[in-house]
C-alpha cells in the first residue's frame, strides 16, 4: 500500500508541475484559446502519470515508458510543426497545427512502448514500422502526384490519396515489422519454425511480443479492449460534459482543434465513441473467447495459433488508424458513416474507414479460428450437447462475425472508392443510391450487436449455475436459442431503415422478423430465472455483475419491440430513446457480463483474486448510475431529444435531465476507474487464489492457477453433464491417467504438425 500512496502523492505533484509548465509554454507562445486549455491538461496527465509510476514502482519499465512518452511527444510536436511550416509556405509557425498533433500522438504512443518494452518488443517494432510505412506510402503517392503535375500538399500535409495509401501501407508494415506473420514467410521459404516461441520471454514481456499461446493472446486482447474502452469512455465524458447544459459550453464555434471547430469536434468525438467502443467490444469478446474456449474444450491451444496471433496484432494498427482519424480533420457522420455526408467529410473519415476495414480482418479471422477449434479440438467425450454453454455462444457469435463482417468492410470501401476515384456508388448525380449503402451497412451492423451480446449472454449462462449451485435450466434450449438469435439476426437489418425511404411495404416483413428475435431471447430469460429458482445463491462480485446483466439486458430487450413496430419507430427513430435502448442492450449483453467474466477468470489467469470490496463498490456505483443514465435518455428521447446533436433547444426543458445524465456518466467513469485500479493492483498484490476458488465443475478450475503454459498436463475426458450441481457423486470431467495419456499425446503430436 505504501508505494501506491507515494505514487498518488507524486501524481499530484507531477500533475501540478505539468499544468504549470503547460501554462508557462502557452503564455510564452501566446497561442489560441484551445491551446490554453489543452496543453496544460495534456502535460499534467502525462507528467502526472510518469510521476505516479515513479513514486509507486521506482525506476521500473513503466516509468521509463512514460518518460519516453513525454520525450516522444515533444519530438513529434517539433517534427509536425516543421512539416506544417513547409505547407503553409514558411508563413510562421502554427502551434495549433493538426499535423503537429498527429505526430505527438504517433511518436508519443510509439515511444511509450519503446521505453516500456524496448525496441526488440513486437509492439514497438510494429508501431515504428507503421509510422515508416505510412510515410513511405504517402510520399510515394506524393511523388507520383508531383510527376503528374497535381497538387501535392493537402490540409494535413499530405493529400487525401496519399494519406489513404500511406495508412494502408502502414498497416502492412506493422504486420511485417512486428513479426506476427514471419513464420508464414519462413515456411514459404522452406524454413521450419518451432511450434511455440514465447519461451524466449519471461513474465510480462511476453504480452508485448508475438505469442502463439491462446492465453497470452486472450489477455492481450482483453487489455487492448480495456485500453480502448477507456479512450471511448473518455470521449463520451467529453461530449457528455458539453451536453450538461444547453448552448455551447466549451466546444464552441470559435475554438479550433485538429482542424475542427467545436461542433465538428463534438461530431468526431461522438462518432469515434461509437466505433472505438465497437472495436473494443469486438476485442473484449475475442479476449474472453480466446482465453476461455480452449480451456473449456480441453485443448492445448486454438486450432491455428499463428492465425490467432495475426488476428490480434492486426487490430493494433486498426486502433491507431481510428485515433488518427480524430486528428486528421475528424468526420461528422456518426459511426454509421452514411453517404452522401461521409462522401463530403474531411480526410479523417478515410482513416476511420480503413481502421474499421482492418479491424474487420481481425474479427473474421478470429471467428474462423474459433469455429475450427470447437469443431476439431474438443476433449474426449465432449459431444455437442455436453459442451460448456459459453462455447455454444462463442460458436454462434463466430458464425455471424465470419459471414457478416465483410459487408461493413465492403460498404465503407465503396465510399472510400467513391471519394478517391469518383465512382458514384452512392451519388445520385451519377446514378448511385444512398439507401443502398444503408442496406449493405446494416446487413453487418445489425447482426454485429448479436456478436457483441451473445458471448455475454453465454457468460451469464455459464456463471449462473456456479453461484446458484444448481444445473443450468434447459441447457439444450439455451444452446439452440443462441443459434436461433444468430440466424434470425440476419434477416432483421432493415428495421434500422423504417424512415429511410425504402419500399413502404417491405417494412412490414422486417417488423415481423424483428419481433421474432424476442422468442429465443425470452427463452434465455425464463431459463435463467428457472436456474436460480430454489438454488443456494451467493453474491460474490462476478455473480452481482451477472444478475445486474440480466436486469439491464431485460430493460434493453423490452424497449426493443416498440422500435420494431413501424408506426411507433417513426417517432422513436434517431432519438435518445434509441440511444438509451441501445446502451441497455450493450451494457446488459456485453459490459456487465464482461466485468463478471474478468472478476471470475482473473484468478485463473493470475493466481490471485481481485479485491472483493472494491469489486462491490464498482458494482453498486455503476449499476444505479447506469439505470439513471439510460432511463433518463429514453425519457427525453420520447419527449423530442434527437440523437447526435451538440446542442438542444433550451425551450425543450431538458437542461436539468441532461445535467443528471452527465453526473451519472461521470459516476460510471469513476466506477470503471476503481475497477482499473483493482485490476492492475491485484495482478501483483491481490490475495492468492490458486485452487478452485468458485467451487466450479468446469475443467479449468480442476487444475492449479495460474494456468500452466500448455494448459492441461493430463488431458481429461468428459464423463457427465457440465452443470450437474447438486447431483451427488456426479462429475463433469475426469483426468486421464498418465499411461493412457502417452497414447493420446502421440496422436496429438502427429495432428499438430498439420496445422498452421
Amino acid at each position: 500500500m505504501k508505494p501506491t500512496l507515494r505514487g498518488f502523492l507524486f501524481l499530484v505533484v507531477g500533475a501540478l508541475l505539468g499544468y504549470a509548465l503547460g501554462v508557462g509554454i502557452v503564455s510564452l507562445i501566446a497561442g489560441s484559446l484551445t491551446l490554453v486549455a489543452l496543453v496544460p491538461i495534456l502535460l499534467a496527465t502525462s507528467i502526472g502519470l510518469m510521476a505516479f509510476f515513479w513514486g509507486a514502482t521506482g525506476n521500473s519499465a513503466i516509468t521509463k515508458g512514460f518518460i519516453w512518452l513525454n520525450l516522444g511527444g515533444v519530438i513529434g510536436f517539433v517534427v509536425g510543426l516543421l512539416l506544417d511550416f513547409i505547407i503553409t509556405g514558411f508563413r510562421g509557425l502554427n502551434w495549433n497545427a493538426p499535423v503537429a498533433s498527429l505526430f505527438v500522438l504517433l511518436f508519443g504512443f510509439t515511444a511509450f512502448f519503446w521505453g516500456l518494452a524496448g525496441y526488440r518488443a513486437a509492439i514497438t517494432r510494429g508501431l515504428v514500422s507503421q509510422i515508416l510505412g505510412t510515410l513511405i506510402g504517402a510520399i510515394f503517392v506524393t511523388l507520383i502526384r508531383v510527376l503528374m503535375g497535381l497538387e501535392w500538399k493537402g490540409a494535413f500535409f499530405f493529400t487525401e490519396p496519399a494519406w489513404v495509401l500511406g495508412a494502408f501501407v502502414g498497416v502492412l508494415f506493422f504486420i511485417a515489422g512486428n513479426g506476427s506473420a514471419s513464420d508464414w514467410f519462413k515456411w514459404a521459404r522452406g524454413i521450419d519454425t518451432p511450434e511455440h516461441h514465447e519461451e524466449h520471454y519471461s513474465g510480462w514481456e511476453k504480452y508485448f511480443n508475438v505469442s502463439l499461446d491462446h492465453k497470452v493472446i486472450g489477455i492481450q486482447y482483453t487489455i487492448t479492449a480495456l485500453l480502448l474502452i477507456s479512450i471511448g469512455g473518455l470521449f463520451a465524458l467529453i461530449f457528455r460534459t458539453e451536453l450538461a447544459a444547453s448552448q455551447l459550453q466549451f466546444l464552441t464555434v470559435d475554438m479550433k482543434l485538429f482542424g475542427q471547430n467545436g461542433p465538428q469536434l463534438y461530431n468526431t468525438f461522438m462518432s469515434l465513441h461509437g466505433m472505438i467502443m465497437i472495436v473494443s467490444i469486438l476485442l473484449g469478446v475475442a479476449g474472453i473467447i480466446n482465453y476461455a474456449v480452449p480451456l473449456l474444450l480441453g485443448a492445448q491451444d486454438m486450432a491455428f495459433p499463428r492465425l490467432n496471433a495475426f488476428s490480434f496484432w492486426i487490430a493494433v494498427p486498426a486502433a491507431v488508424l481510428l485515433l488518427m482519424s480524430l486528428i486528421l480533420g475528424g468526420f461528422d457522420t456518426g459511426w454509421t458513416g452514411y453517404p452522401p455526408l461521409s462522401a463530403k467529410a474531411p480526410v479523417g473519415i478515410q482513416m476511420f474507414f480503413l481502421g474499421v476495414f482492418t479491424a474487420g480482418w481481425s474479427s473474421i479471422l478470429g471467428a474462423l479460428n474459433v469455429v475450427a477449434t470447437v469443431i476439431r479440438m474438443r476433449a474426449k467425450g465432449m459431444t455437442a450437447m455436453r459442451m460448456p454453454i459459453f462455447v455454444w455462444a462463442a460458436v454462434a457469435t463466430s458464425i455471424i462475425a465470419m459471414t457478416a463482417t465483410q459487408l461493413i468492410g465492403l460498404s465503407f470501401q465503396l465510399v472510400m472508392f467513391q471519394r478517391l476515384f469518383g465512382m458514384g456508388f452512392f451519388d445520385p448525380a451519377k446514378g448511385g443510391n444512398p439507401v443502398l449503402f444503408q442496406h449493405l451497412f446494416w446487413f453487418y451492423s445489425h447482426p454485429a450487436v448479436y456478436v457483441f451480446v451473445l458471448p455475454g449472454l453465454g457468460v451469464i449462462s455459464e456463471l449462473l449455475p456456479v453461484f446458484a449451485r444448481k444445473p443450468l435450466f434447459g441447457y439444450r434450449w439455451i444452446a439452440m436459442s443462441s443459434m436461433g438469435i444468430a440466424l434470425v439476426g440476419f434477416v432483421v437489418w432493415a428495421h434500422h431503415m423504417f424512415t429511410s425511404g425504402m419500399n413502404e411495404y417491405l417494412r412490414v416483413p422486417f417488423m415481423y422478423s424483428t419481433l421474432l428475435v424476442a422468442i429465443p431471447t425470452g427463452v434465455k430469460f425464463f431459463s435463467w430465472v428457472a436456474t436460480i429458482w430454489k438454488g443456494k445463491l451467493t453474491y460474490p462480485t462476478p455473480m452481482l455483475f451477472v444478475l445486474g446483466a440480466i436486469v439491464v439486458f431485460l430493460l434493453g430487450g423490452l424497449t426493443g419491440p416498440p422500435n420494431a413496430a413501424i408506426s411507433v419507430d417513426l417517432h422513436l427513430h434517431d432519438t435518445y430513446f434509441i440511444v438509451g435502448h441501445f446502451h441497455d442492450t450493450i451494457f446488459g449483453g456485453f459490459v456487465f457480463p464482461f466485468f463478471a467474466a474478468l472478476y471470475y477468470w482473473f484468478p485463473k489467469a493470475t493466481g490471485r483474486r481481485m479485491n472483493e470490496t472494491l469489486g462491490k463498490i464498482h458494482f453498486w456505483l455503476m449499476t444505479p448510475s447506469f439505470f439513471v443514465l439510460t432511463l433518463g435518455m429514453m425519457q427525453i428521447g420520447l419527449l423530442g431529444m434527437r440523437r447526435r446533436i451538440v446542442d438542444y433547444d433550451v425551450e425543450l426543458g431538458f437542461d436539468s435531465t441532461h445535467l443528471v445524465l452527465t453526473i451519472a456518466g461521470y459516476l460510471i467513469g469513476l466506477s470503471v476507474l476503481i475497477f482499473f485500479y483493482n485490476f492492475f493492483n491485484s495482478i501483483k498484490n491481490g490475495e492468492k487464489a490458486e485452487g478452485n476458488l468458485w467451487n466450479s465443475r468446469s475443467p479449468e478450475w480442476q487444475v492449479p492457477s495460474p494456468m500452466p503454459t500448455h494448459n492441461y498436463e493430463q488431458p481429461f475426458e468428459v464423463v457427465g453433464e457440465p452443470y450437474d450441481y447438486g447431483l451427488a457423486g456426479s462429475k463433469y470431467v475426469e483426468f486421464i491417467a498418465p499411461q493412457q495419456k502417452a497414447n493420446i499425446n502421440k496422436g496429438e503430436e502427429s495432428y499438430v504438425t498439420h496445422t498452421g
Binding site: 443450468l472 434447459g474 413496430a565 452443470y723 450437474d724
Partner: protein, 338 residues
C-alpha cells in the same frame, strides 16, 4: 407450491404498479409531447399497448429473480447444493409458443397502426419541402409562395413532397410523431393531419453535418381561416414588394440562405448578414477585406475564395449559380439589414 402463489401475486401487483406509474407519467406529459396530429393518436395507442406488455414482462422476470435472490440465498453455515432439476420440456414449449402468439398479435397491431397513419386523403394539400444544410424551405406550389415557416391548416391532411439538395436529412415534428428521411436523388413523402392548433418546430433528425443541431424551422398549425389569411398575405407581399431588395429577400428564402446566415446578428453556421455590408472582415489567412458588391458576389459564386476567420475551411456552403440581376437583388437585400 407456496412459492409460486406468492410470486404470482407479486408479479401481478408489480406489473400493475409499473404500468400505473408509467401511465401517470404519460398523462403528465412526461413521456410524450402533445398529440398534434391524427397519426400521433394511433402511434400513442400502439405505444400504450407496448407499455402494457413491457410492464408485465418486466415484472414476470424481475419479480421471481428478486424473490429467488432473497428467499433462496445461501444461509450462513449452509454448505449444501441447490435443488437438482435440469429442465422441463413442457415449460420450455409453453414459454416459446405463448410469446410467439403474443409477438404475432403485436405484429398485427403494428401493421394495423401503420395502415392507419398511412391512410390517404385524395384532397390532401400538397406542399413542397426542400432540405439542405442547414435549413428547411417550404413551397406552396398552388400559390407560388416560398416560406421559411411551415404553415398548416388544422384538420386537413397535407402531404409534403420532400427533396434534399445535399445530404440525407430527416423531417421530424415530435408533436406529430411521424418522421421521414429526405434523401438526395428522390422525392419522399410525409403525410400528416394536424389536429391541434399551435406552434411547433421541425427539427432535422438525421445527422447532416456541423450545424445539424440547429437545423430547425417553425411549424405553425392554424385554423383554416387564419391559414387562408396567411396565404393571402404572403401573396400580397410577393406582389407588392417588387423592389430589388424585396426580390432579393425572397431569393434568399427560396434558396435557404438564411439557414446559415442570420439576419439579426445571431451566430449560425456562416457569418451573419446583419450590419455586415460596408464593414471590414478579417479572413482566415489574416488579410482584411471590405464587404462590398464584388466581395459578396464572389462569395456567393465561389464560397471558398475568401473564408472569414473562425469559419470552417473548406466552406460548408455549396457554390450557387445566380444571374447577375439575382445577385444584385440579394446584395440590395443585404444592404437593408442594419
Amino acid at each position: 407450491m407456496g412459492h409460486f402463489v406468492i410470486v404470482g401475486i407479486l408479479v401481478i401487483v408489480f406489473a400493475v404498479l409499473t404500468y400505473f406509474g408509467l401511465d401517470v407519467a404519460g398523462v403528465a406529459r412526461q413521456m410524450h409531447p402533445v398529440e398534434a396530429s391524427l397519426q400521433s393518436v394511433s402511434i400513442d395507442w400502439m405505444w400504450n399497448w407496448e407499455i402494457i406488455a413491457i410492464s408485465f414482462l418486466f415484472a414476470l422476470i424481475v419479480v421471481p429473480m428478486a424473490y429467488s435472490m432473497i428467499v433462496f440465498r445461501r444461509k450462513k453455515g449452509d454448505t449444501g447444493e441447490g435443488e437438482h432439476f435440469e429442465g422441463n420440456t413442457t415449460l420450455e414449449i409453453v414459454w416459446t409458443v405463448v410469446p410467439l402468439f403474443i409477438v404475432l398479435v403485436f405484429a398485427y397491431m403494428g401493421s394495423y397502426s401503420l395502415s392507419e397513419i398511412r391512410r390517404v386523403d385524395p384532397n390532401a394539400v400538397v406542399i413542397k419541402v426542400k432540405a439542405q444544410q442547414f435549413a428547411w424551405t417550404f413551397e406552396y406550389p398552388e400559390y407560388g409562395i416560398f416560406s421559411n415557416e411551415l404553415h398548416l391548416p388544422v384538420d386537413q391532411q397535407v402531404v409534403l413532397k420532400m427533396e434534399s439538395a445535399d445530404v440525407i436529412h430527416s423531417f421530424w415534428v415530435p408533436e406529430f410523431r411521424v418522421k421521414q428521411d429526405v434523401v438526395p436523388g428522390r422525392v419522399t413523402e410525409y403525410r400528416i393531419t394536424p389536429i391541434l392548433v399551435g406552434d411547433y418546430k421541425v427539427r432535422c433528425a438525421e445527422l447532416c453535418g456541423t450545424s445539424h443541431a440547429y437545423m430547425q424551422n417553425a411549424v405553425i398549425v392554424d385554423e383554416q381561416n387564419v391559414y387562408d389569411a396567411w396565404i393571402a398575405e404572403q401573396q400580397a407581399i410577393a406582389l407588392a414588394n417588387q423592389t430589388p431588395a424585396g426580390i432579393g429577400q425572397r431569393l434568399t428564402v427560396k434558396n435557404g440562405c438564411t439557414g446559415c446566415h442570420s439576419i439579426d446578428g445571431s451566430p449560425l453556421t456562416g457569418p451573419t448578414w446583419f450590419g455586415i455590408f460596408g464593414e471590414e472582415v478579417k479572413l482566415a489567412d489574416g488579410t482584411v477585406v471590405e464587404v462590398d458588391d464584388a466581395y459578396v458576389a464572389e462569395s456567393i459564386l465561389d464560397p471558398n475564395a475568401k473564408i472569414v476567420e473562425g469559419y470552417p475551411a473548406p466552406s460548408l456552403m455549396p457554390a450557387y449559380t445566380f444571374t447577375e440581376t439575382e445577385i444584385a437583388n440579394i446584395i440590395a437585400y443585404i444592404k437593408t439589414l442594419k
